[in-house]
Subunit: 400 residues, 2 copies
């Protein structure tokens, strides 16, 4: 596949440019248009403080068809009161004007600094310009991705192609996000396009499942932002007989979507603020599903574990300490821990191990920590990243 951007599926146009929200001159405004109208599904942050964009997009996504998505970076339009809501609506109206559709069929997303009003004139002028640049070219898809980046150091894109009863179906996605990322909508912003013909309820089901097993399994600093949004648009332009039930074709589609989202989640983890490596935490033997999830997250979010991994240090004691502190049910006589393929703690007792070997495992770009709580049969996993001095400097200096 030559084009791996969100314009790869049939039926989508995109564009991105610098309109002036960011002082750096970097791209800060992006648009996706589906001229034929798309079935849309979306998931949003569960933070009780939700950006104006999230509040508006939540309403609009209920529409039968969605024709466009407008996104700005550099300003989150969160904690901005009634004026913030008005500005989010204005972004939809201005976009609708240029594509000749109803404002309610436009979704809006924002990311950036919290608590400042949008420079709305700059943005509405920008919307006119970005609408003039729409195309289905790869470059336009790349420009859209550039326009949603904040502290990201790399654009994050992925695409998959599958065969649905002899018809080629394409799915493509892009994400932004580096800090303020945690499970339960760890998405910051995620936009996925596909040309499959599929009903809206099934699209919703597929998106929730895919995000649940990918972006929601990712934790960078244990918090979800006020703006997290994942949108999946299906143009139906591929030409397949519409998917209307949970048939094998639906299964094929969800498998590809899950794989795409996992790819995007890993790209995000690797590009997490200051991260030099990522790790997967697998917890087995939990008494309940929520215990399994809680233990995973306790390990992946524990600063001392993240620092040890940064230092290639096989300091498993901190892993066990994090588990004990998390409040989950555990059997201290059965508790065990493996780092990569090496058992470091077994049935509540430390195991002699080759520290140099484990240090080498921990220094890889990706490794797995396996913990067995010995308390039941449930399991879960999540992705985390190391904590570096760079994370601190990025986040100490972001505002000023």
């Amino acid at each position: 596949m030559i084009n791996n951007t969100i314009t790869a599926p049939k039926g989508f146009l995109a564009a991105g440019l610098h309109c002036g929200v960011k002082k750096s001159g970097k791209y800060d405004l992006g648009m996706i248009v589906c001229p034929g109208g798309a079935n849309a599904a979306a998931v949003f942050t569960t933070n009780k403080i939700q950006s104006a964009a999230v509040q508006i997009a939540k309403k609009h996504v209920k529409n039968k068809k969605i024709y466009a998505v407008i996104v700005n970076s550099g300003n989150a339009n969160a904690c901005t009161g009634a004026l913030g809501i008005k500005n989010a609506v204005k972004m939809c109206e201005q976009t609708a004007l240029h594509i000749g559709e109803d404002p309610h069929t436009v979704l809006v997303a924002s990311t950036g600094i919290i608590g400042e009003q949008l420079p709305i004139k700059t943005i509405t002028d920008g919307i006119a310009n970005v609408a003039g640049k729409l195309s289905a070219e790869k470059e336009s898809g790349q420009n859209f991705t550039s326009a949603i980046m904040t502290t990201d150091t790399k654009p994050k894109m992925a695409a998959r192609q599958i065969d649905i009863s002899g018809v080629k179906v394409t799915i493509a996605g892009t994400v932004k996000g580096a800090g303020m990322i945690a499970p339960n909508m760890a998405t910051t912003l995620c936009f996925i396009t596909t040309d499959i013909a599929i009903t809206k309820p099934l699209l919703n089901k597929a998106l929730k499942n895919a995000i649940g097993n990918s972006l929601n399994k990712l934790t960078v600093d244990g918090h979800q932002s006020t703006n997290d949004t994942a949108i999946l648009l299906a143009s139906g332009s591929a030409g397949n007989r519409p998917v209307t039930s949970q048939c094998p074709r639906f299964k094929k589609f969800t498998n590809a979507l899950n794989d795409l989202c996992d790819d995007l989640a890993r790209q995000m983890a690797h590009d997490a603020e200051g991260a030099t490596r990522i790790f997967k935490v697998v917890v087995n033997g939990a008494a309940s599903q929520s215990d399994a999830a809680k233990a995973c997250r306790a390990i992946a979010d524990y600063p001392l574990v993240k620092c040890a991994i940064h230092g290639s240090d096989p300091n498993w004691g901190r892993i066990i300490c994090a588990v004990g502190s998390s409040g989950v049910k555990l059997n201290t006589e059965k508790l065990s821990c493996k780092i990569g393929s090496v058992t470091v703690f077994h049935n509540g007792k430390p195991r002699k191990f080759d520290a140099q070997k484990v240090s080498k495992i921990v220094s890889q770009p990706e490794h797995t920590i396996l913990v067995d709580l010995g308390a039941g049969k449930k399991n879960d996993f999540c992705y985390g990243c190391d904590l570096s001095a760079e994370y601190v400097s990025i986040n100490a200096d972001y505002h000023t």
Copy 2:
């Protein structure tokens, strides 16, 4: 008061030295002895993984009288199985031998790396030596404090004197701890001596209350260790008529104890790993006490808030984001935030403020963040510290 160490109250001897657990040559073994026997109270970690020392000390503290406390640093004796328990018992036995008392009247504490067996011969030899150095001198109290330090950069000690019906009563305390510190037993190790005559149940009550309002309000990295222990010993040597009820004399004692513990908590926060400044979070208007505590901690533990404070950045959006993400009940129309004396967010809307002024407030050694949830009448507070690049390097390199 000339002596502000744990030997200041009448009836206590102490000592500290280097026995060989730490390779650095720094002090690593400390002993407190109360030759007349002390009433003792203690609180321990609620981590489900508890060090061997904690397991043994929990049993022994139930004894009517406690004659000694033995502490090592450099090794936590945690996650060490049956051998760990045996070694903790041996530390008590060896101490008992040298003071001619029953091993069950000795309390033990350990701090340091998790998951390695104690060099028990080194420690039992050390116990013989440290018992030979016991004295009531200030220097001996200081040596004890040196012996409990791990990544602490400063010794942490405080003392108070009060008049109880014409009798001078002294309380003195020392703490260690810099990382792995969180509410619900944020104590790591804390030893308090006093010469007041008081019953054991009242002593327990006083300690729980004092720790609850001081060390348990402190969060450095959101986790409690496997070894957290606070011990309060009362020799009864001051000569006061024993305190046997919650009378005004008890109130006077608890006030002084609370003040002492608050002092120690602040000393700990200032010396937290890599911390350059501390802050107090006050949450008002909570729907419940647990919501108030949860919101406090969500703010103080949020890496992005800690980084912003490190950068003297008045980034209040991150404070509001942390509150929203914490899951507590809040009224978005009433939610307000003050940094120092400056209102930055009021009734759900941002306020224009002098960023330079707030940046100056945030750069002070100590400042207060006030959040009103607008959802009720409960309130709480906690202490936190900034997150610096040094925290990362300390914790990336601790093991190897």
